[in-house]
C-alpha cells in the first residue's frame, strides 16, 4: 500500500509536468483563433472568447468559455477582473505556472481596450511569449516526468523498507 501511495504521488507530480505544455499549447491555439476573430471580423470580446475556446477541450476550453460568458452577463467588469476571477476559481483544474498566469493577466488588462491593429500586435506578442514558455515547459517535462515517476516508486520502496 505504501509503495502504491508513493508511486501514485510520483505519477501525479509527473502528470502535472506533462499536462502543463499541453495546456499552454491549447492556450496558444485559442489565442490564435481569438486573434483571427478580432482581426478579421471584429467580433466582440465575449463571443470571440467563447468561440475561441471551442477549438480545444478540457480546462482551457472552460477558461475561455467562462470568461466570455461572464463578460457577456456582467459587462461592467473589465476583462482583467473577469479573467483573474476565473483563473482563481479554476486554479485546481489548470496546470499553469506563474509565467503563463502573469501573461494571461497582462492580456486581460489589454483585451478590448485598443483598436484592432493594436489588439492584433498585442495578441501576437502574447502568443510569442507563450510559445517560448511552452518550449521551456516541454524541456522541463522531458527532464522531470520520468524522474518523478521513479522517485515515487523508489520513495515508496524506501519507506516500506524502513517500516519493515
Amino acid at each position: 500500500m505504501v509503495i502504491g501511495a508513493g508511486t501514485g504521488i510520483g505519477f501525479a507530480i509527473a502528470s502535472r509536468y506533462s499536462e502543463r505544455p499541453r495546456q499552454i499549447g491549447q492556450l496558444i491555439a485559442c489565442l490564435t483563433t481569438l486573434k483571427s476573430y478580432v482581426n478579421y471580423i471584429s467580433m466582440p470580446l465575449p463571443e470571440a472568447l467563447e468561440h475561441s475556446g471551442a477549438v480545444v477541450d478540457g480546462p482551457v476550453k472552460e477558461l475561455f468559455e467562462r470568461t466570455g460568458k461572464l463578460l457577456a452577463s456582467d459587462g461592467w467588469l473589465s476583462p482583467r477582473q473577469v479573467l483573474a476571477g476565473v483563473l482563481e476559481e479554476m486554479a485546481e483544474k489548470l496546470v499553469l505556472g506563474l509565467p503563463e498566469r502573469e501573461i494571461l493577466l497582462q492580456l486581460g488588462a489589454n483585451l478590448g481596450t485598443t483598436n484592432r491593429d493594436e489588439q492584433q500586435k498585442y495578441l501576437a506578442m502574447v502568443i510569442a511569449g507563450l510559445e517560448k514558455i511552452e518550449q521551456e515547459s516541454r524541456h522541463a517535462r522531458d527532464l522531470n516526468v520520468k524522474m518523478f515517476r521513479y522517485l515515487g516508486i523508489c520513495a515508496g520502496l524506501a519507506l516500506t523498507i524502513l517500516l519493515v
Partner: protein, 333 residues
C-alpha cells in the same frame, strides 16, 4: 410596451450598476418624459426633458442643490463604456471616430473625450469624459400620412428626397417608410416591396451584430455602417431591391450612386439637411440631382411648431404642390 419598460429593457442594462440604480429610482413621470441622460466625469448626473435639465440625487430624486446631486465618477463612465462597447473597443472603431454609438432601441450615445489624431484626421477618442444618451422615442405609423404620396398605384414607389433641418424627424420618418414599404400597406392596396437600406451611421435600423433592432418589416436588407455610395451599388448588385433607402446625402459619390441607382430602375428614398428645395438647389453635388429633377417627390420637413411637421410635398416632374402645411398634416412629434 410602455416607456419605462423600454428603458428597463434597452437603457438600464447599458449603465454602470450604480447609475442604473439611481435612474431606476427617478420619478416615473420624469422617466416617461426623459429625452436625454447626461453623464460627465466629476459632474452631477443629469436627466433632460426637452430643453430643461434636472440634477438627480443618489436616491434618484431630482435636486436643485449641486452638492446634493450624485456626482458621476470616471469609473461610472468607464463601466458604462465597457458595457456599451461590450469590452471591445476594436469592434467600434468607426463609432469612436464618429463620436457616437447607436444602441438597440435606436438610442444614440454621444461621446466626448481626448481626440487621437493621425495625419490631421481624427482616428479615435480616448479617455471619454462625457456620455450623452439621447433616448429614442418610437412613434408608430409615423409615415402613414405620407405613404399615399410615395406609391404610384401600380405597386411601384416614387423616388423621394426628404428635406429638413437637423432634428426635424427625417430619420424617424425614413425608418417608418422602410417598415411600411417592406411590410405593405393594406389600406392602400400595397403588398410590399424588397427594400435595401444603407445605414451608414446605424441610425435607421440600429443594428446589433448586423441584425436590425428596429422593426423594418420582412423585406428589408440592411447594410450597416457602410458608406452610402458603396452600399447603394452593392445592394443593387447583390440584393436586387426595388427601393434603396439611405440617410443624409451630401458627398459627390452619394449623388453619383443615386443617379446610377435610378438609371438601373431602382427607386431611391433619401434624406438631406436643408430648409427647403431652393436651399438644396445651391448645394454642390446634391443640388445637381435637384436641378435635373432626378427625384419624383420632395417632402419638406420642419421642427416648427413641433418636430416632424410636414411643410409640403411636391410632385417634382409635374411641378405640382401636392400638400402644404396649412392642410394640417403632421407626421410625428
Amino acid at each position: 410596451m410602455n416607456r419605462y419598460a423600454i428603458l428597463e429593457k434597452t437603457i438600464f442594462p447599458l449603465l454602470a450598476p450604480i447609475l442604473a440604480t439611481i435612474i431606476r429610482s427617478a420619478p416615473l413621470c420624469m422617466l416617461e418624459e426623459a429625452t436625454e441622460l447626461r453623464l460627465r466625469a466629476g459632474q452631477p448626473l443629469m436627466l433632460q426633458i426637452g430643453d430643461k435639465d434636472y440634477l438627480l440625487g443618489s436616491d434618484g430624486r431630482p435636486v436643485t442643490d449641486l452638492k446634493a446631486a450624485y456626482v458621476c465618477t470616471r469609473e461610472d463612465l468607464v463601466q458604462t463604456l465597457q458595457i456599451v462597447s461590450r469590452n471591445s473597443l476594436y469592434a467600434f472603431e468607426q463609432e469612436l471616430r464618429l463620436g457616437f454609438f447607436t444602441v438597440p432601441g435606436g438610442h444614440r450615445i454621444g461621446l466626448t473625450g481626448q481626440a487621437i489624431m493621425n495625419d490631421g484626421e481624427l482616428k479615435a477618442l480616448k479617455n471619454i469624459g462625457t456620455m450623452n444618451i439621447r433616448l429614442a422615442r418610437a412613434i408608430p405609423e409615423v409615415a402613414a400620412p405620407v405613404m399615399p404620396y410615395l406609391l404610384t398605384g401600380s405597386g411601384r414607389v416614387f423616388s423621394t428626397l426628404l428635406i429638413g433641418p437637423p432634428r426635424s424627424g427625417k430619420t424617424t420618418l425614413l425608418r417608418d417608410i422602410v417598415r411600411q414599404l417592406s411590410s405593405g400597406v393594406p389600406r392602400l392596396n400595397f403588398s410590399g416591396v424588397q427594400v435595401g437600406v444603407v445605414d451608414e451611421r446605424s441610425e435607421i435600423a440600429a443594428c446589433r451584430d448586423g441584425i436590425p433592432t428596429a422593426d423594418l418589416g420582412p423585406r428589408a436588407d440592411v447594410l450597416d455602417g457602410c458608406p452610402k455610395a458603396t452600399g447603394m451599388l452593392m445592394l443593387i448588385r447583390s440584393m436586387a431591391p426595388q427601393v434603396v433607402i439611405t440617410d443624409e446625402l451630401g458627398r459627390q459619390e452619394d449623388a453619383a450612386a443615386v443617379q446610377e441607382a435610378l438609371h438601373a430602375g431602382v427607386s431611391v428614398i433619401a434624406s438631406v439637411h436643408g430648409r427647403d428645395v431652393e436651399d438644396i438647389k445651391e448645394r454642390p453635388f446634391i443640388g445637381e440631382l435637384v436641378r435635373h429633377k432626378f427625384f419624383d417627390r420632395y417632402i419638406v420637413l420642419s421642427s416648427s411648431p413641433t418636430i416632424g411637421t410636414v411643410e409640403m410635398i411636391i410632385a417634382v416632374k409635374q411641378d405640382a404642390l401636392l400638400l402644404k402645411r396649412s392642410d394640417g398634416v403632421r407626421e410625428c412629434g
